[in-house]
Symmetry: C2
Subunit: 217 residues, 2 copies
Amino acid sequence: MPEAAHPEPEPRTPAVSRPGGRSARVRAEVVAATLAEVTERGYDGLTVEAVASRSGTHKATLYRRWGGVDGLVADALAASADQPWPVPDAGDLQQDLRLITQEVFTAFTDPELGPTPTALISAAQRSDTGAAALRSFFAARHRQAAEVVERAVTRGELSVGTDGAEVIRAATAPLYYRLFVSGEPLDARTAQRAADAAALAARAGLFTPTSTPPEQN
Amino acid sequence: MPEAAHPEPEPRTPAVSRPGGRSARVRAEVVAATLAEVTERGYDGLTVEAVASRSGTHKATLYRRWGGVDGLVADALAASADQPWPVPDAGDLQQDLRLITQEVFTAFTDPELGPTPTALISAAQRSDTGAAALRSFFAARHRQAAEVVERAVTRGELSVGTDGAEVIRAATAPLYYRLFVSGEPLDARTAQRAADAAALAARAGLFTPTSTPPEQN
């Protein structure tokens, strides 16, 4: 759809563009520039001007398609959620969850890789538009990663009806808690233990919403 | 210690004051005003002027003792961490953890009680001073709540050497993850399940740092 056909686009949901089209190229450049700017300067230093200049896009185009900095942050998150992501398949729930928490650990703590997703999530927490994008981002991640739970159900490792997204939340929450709430350091051992605890709880049937798990006593 | 004795106080660590003294009264008024302002206006709307006016304190006193809005937020968190907090003692780890996660659930989601701690944590995430106060706040909470783990060790319910703070983190992280990271709704069932999963993992020996838990296969 040519840009002229958008007299009043909704700034918070950038136009879906044909893959490889001009619009898709512009989006990719704008997302890359937004990620670079937010990593270098944080949300407080993020400006439409700087993203325009870095991406070689007109400021007017950015305002029209993204609305402003919050729309830019939200779309950078949406683009990240769309990225293909290697869901592990080790043939065992505990190993798969360990690989997932290891992936989260590395994504946020690696000196090279970590600063961009950390800055992006912090920036998204700063506006309602960003918060909505954050909910969609995590919903997409939970859905993708829940595949390891579905496979465990198919293998007979877990009960039918186990809530896959909830198992993924349980495995990863202790990492995100340290990274974005308590601010405590995170290490590989903690990441592995979070996976092991989630696998144990899943096998005990705690994430089967239709059943009331028995008291452990 | 009279205020005149503080020619150049460190703004980020407000003077410790005698309980009941004038300095303690001023601090309590300033903390209350900061909590009210941050709840009504958020970090972006928080000003030293408004806290001065609401607390009936001179602006110069606030700048001298707290340094600015970030010091005010940090001290409001420090004051919260000092509040006596009823650590449950149901005689059973799983029940105690359920009561703790129920407490966190209510503290943040109750329509009357929830907005202030939610706004305070969000505000603290916005500065280095606030982030340091947040780490201290959660460290204090983990330490206090770890008493339920120590009692479980004494009762023989858990292995000697179980990391109490880590059990508390495991029980509460799924709640904080939804509240402050993924932005998903939180319900009482999720709070209870997080407690149950942490109790299960603790009983399986996952939080005994000196041991390597066996594979679950």
